[in-house]
Symmetry: D2
Subunit: 281 residues, 4 copies
């Protein structure tokens, strides 16, 4: 049964992404500066939020089987689909909105797992966009772009928050102090002033998080991954009750098993990882 | 500080919607048949889910001030932006993904308000799309299309579930019984077999839900709206504790005040509503 | 019979223009500054080229019946299609390329009619683009934009070439002299220095050329149009032989009859023309 | 100087083709069945029209330096641009309309060179579309698609016109006779009934025409090409006067020198040509 108004469907315009291109959907937090302040996130990095982001990303990999891998850092996650995929007929709006919506949904749904002692004050939102990359080279450059961004921002934030939290500077003073400094300057500042060797900072902060479908990885990497994965998924349950903890643990275990993705915090700019795992791309 | 990989941004393609067109973002539940079964929704309509959908839509209107009105029915909600809006530079992917994400987020966030005694079993997802309509005529036809869809489906579902729940038919038998029937046939069936006068069914089911920015409405309608609005927002709190109820009520009140949108269950196909409220479009 | 390579068709992306919008295809000369110099066009306006452009536009109207009107000035012509048209399934590339190609083809084909004593030295090219306008208002503003452009450029060119050809200034000196002048200044300069009352300049130069399907015009305008039309289509045949002239005349007559479009040089910015001819849009 | 109507430019929507993809612009005759009949083309192939198409394509290569090669058959020509090109900012409408317009223009302009004793009766038109191919593989499959199409159609047409012109069948009878036949059947029919060994038919008909920028070819191919090229460009001048012939020859020579493209009639489906000329793609 159809009405005479049915014709308005024709105003929807086709937005199919070019065939034979690798597809990337990037989900990006909206207003997360304010969100992190309102929820009193630790600075420069909030491990519970990273865990929550990764839990949400895992849910996306679990439901959307055409996704090969995901890379996350800061308040964003990028999902990579194979160039041959015909998921949702390659429609950009379908891919972006569904992946963005599920990510958001899982973020809110799992909040209390990762922040058992802190209430979610309001519903956060993420934008999402789908982009086509015509070659492995351009796709890898995309991922390198995001990891380079992770490096640049984390180095800056580590220096900034050291100056503020340990150096006693105001935000403005810290910003002024870092203006025009190069990476080497920031490394030097961290070491000489705060005794921090930046290269010893946790890899999850310096490299971001890579989720790869386990079936596409080679065994050697898998081993390393397992380790990282275990560490990641033990929720920091704070003052949660025993019941809640076991319930939480069960949930996490189930999600992990179903999604069967492996979490890594490694360099994806250099060739090494891709050469050792040729089946991914 | 930028990396040499920055060039990959250029692969994002422009998706600006045509200027001077009315913009509609429709958010649509994915796999809601299964979702409604898993969460044991009442049939043919689950009032608590309608309330939750409307609460989520209100949140969207609250945050995105360029939205004029929203119309919802079944597992979908459509948001209408003024033809002059420059929100998010009219980019289709930004508009669709952000509105879809926030709607989803608010749906999960508010779940326990509307379903205090039923746990959300897994994170649901909604797709979203943005479409441009070049004239008031085509925009109104779009809204009429969705309301006609509401009518057609609700009449069918009312008949179907009467046959199943009260008539003792199996799903297949009910489907068979309704095959090829016209609207008049279904009305007759409901009346003669179950004593149901379809026109006396609640308007929220027959007409769907219209949220309009209060400032765009004329007083007369406003009065009617207020009434509807009050009825809608008293949460059916089931066995929730007194504390929880007051907390819930406070939340709802705040959301409502901030969004200042009015809930109506009326005919939007005929000219009457639009003629009486000329400032909306 | 199809080959296994057929799949490459899928890389063609949909480019349908939004339904219910007025469509404009603008054809624009490429490198016409050089073209006009190489072919020794009169300055500031070459009537034979204007005639040729209009002959080419008429050919386009003759073949593409969904075109309502065309407006030309300088080295460009804009073709307007009705908002309801389904010509070429509203595909932008089809519409633009076919109209642009036919215009070009007719321009070269008819060259010797309009320039019987001057050889075409090389094949010229025109780009073409298709744009959707959602309302009569925006469509009329588009046409006003082109006519305002005609006015601005023609006033400038008339002043510039008066200074160069009659005032003895070099191109640079003339440019310098006109820098920063307003319309009133240029009018004054033309009058005081060269005795030219700009408002008495031929309308074809000041207003450009409007071709309207005769069937859409009201009778009064038609009368005026006929006059203009006749004047326009007597080819300036120079030293062509008698035979050639009669052949040319026959061709022109035939083209004109078939296309049945009326040529006007009038104001299309003000409401008058549109109010008097309500059937056009 | 700008008018208040300038805002209408914003209705032009971006149509940039994806970076790092090979671009193909295909120009295709509109209504060429009728055109070939009206101009009494030889059947199944008109060598003078093939020559004219190639002359037009050469003009396009001459003016648009970012084109690497062109492949033509029947009433179409495809132009390939390098994946790194930034010509016209990779805008689909600019690329398609300009290449289509210039091709059309050169076709009409050069008509009398190739058909010195036959008048062009009306201006023909070609549509044009721009498509992006993300890899050498898909680009080569595109070219293979067009060459396979050439083969399939030419074999059919050779059989069809043999049946009609030499076998005395009507068009309908010939069509009936060929219905459901495979390539082998048509080869057999040609040989047994008309003594034609299809593989000995001229390569220009069986393989179509490939124009490659001479600078991208290896010497060995170049030699073969030169030969083909010479043969191609001696115009069949019919009853043209001596003056006209020399003028024509001069024109052709100039066009050829400037464009410096080499004409080949070879297999481009197999790897051989591409392997021997690695600099092309």
């Amino acid at each position: 049964a159809k009405s005479k108004f049915e014709y308005v469907r024709k105003f929807e315009q086709s937005d199919q992404l070019l065939p034979q291109c690798w597809l990337v959907v990037r989900v990006d937090g909206r207003g997360f500066h304010k969100f992190s302040e309102r929820h009193e996130f630790a600075k420069p990095n909030e491990p519970r939020c990273i865990r929550l982001m990764t839990l949400a990303a895992r849910r996306v990999l679990m439901e959307h089987r055409s996704i090969l891998l995901a890379y996350g850092q800061s308040d964003e996650y990028s999902f990579v689909l194979h160039k041959d995929t015909n998921a949702f007929n390659r429609r950009a709006s379908k891919l972006a909105s569904l992946i963005g919506s599920l990510f958001t949904s899982a973020f809110v749904f799992n909040w209390s797992i990762c922040f058992p002692d802190r209430r979610l004050l309001y519903p956060p939102a993420f934008d999402a966009r789908a982009v086509a990359y015509p070659s492995v080279r351009t796709l890898r450059d995309y991922l390198s772009w995001r990891q380079a961004d992770c490096h640049i921002n984390n180095l800056y934030n580590t220096a900034f928050w050291s100056l503020v939290l340990r150096g006693g500077l105001s935000a403005n003073q810290a910003q002024e102090r870092l203006k025009g400094t190069l990476a080497a300057d920031k490394n030097e500042l961290l070491f000489s002033q705060f005794g921090i060797n930046y290269n010893n900072e946790p890899e999850v902060y310096r490299k971001g998080s890579l989720l790869v479908r386990a079936s596409l990885l080679d065994s050697q990497v898998d081993a390393v991954a397992e380790e990282a994965s275990v560490g990641d998924n033990v929720p920091d349950v704070g003052e949660a009750s025993v019941e809640e903890v076991s319930e939480i643990a069960a949930k996490v275990a189930k999600a992990e098993a179903e999604s069967a993705s492996t979490l890594l915090h490694i360099d994806i700019i250099k060739d090494k990882f891709w050469t050792e795992n040729p089946r991914i791309l």
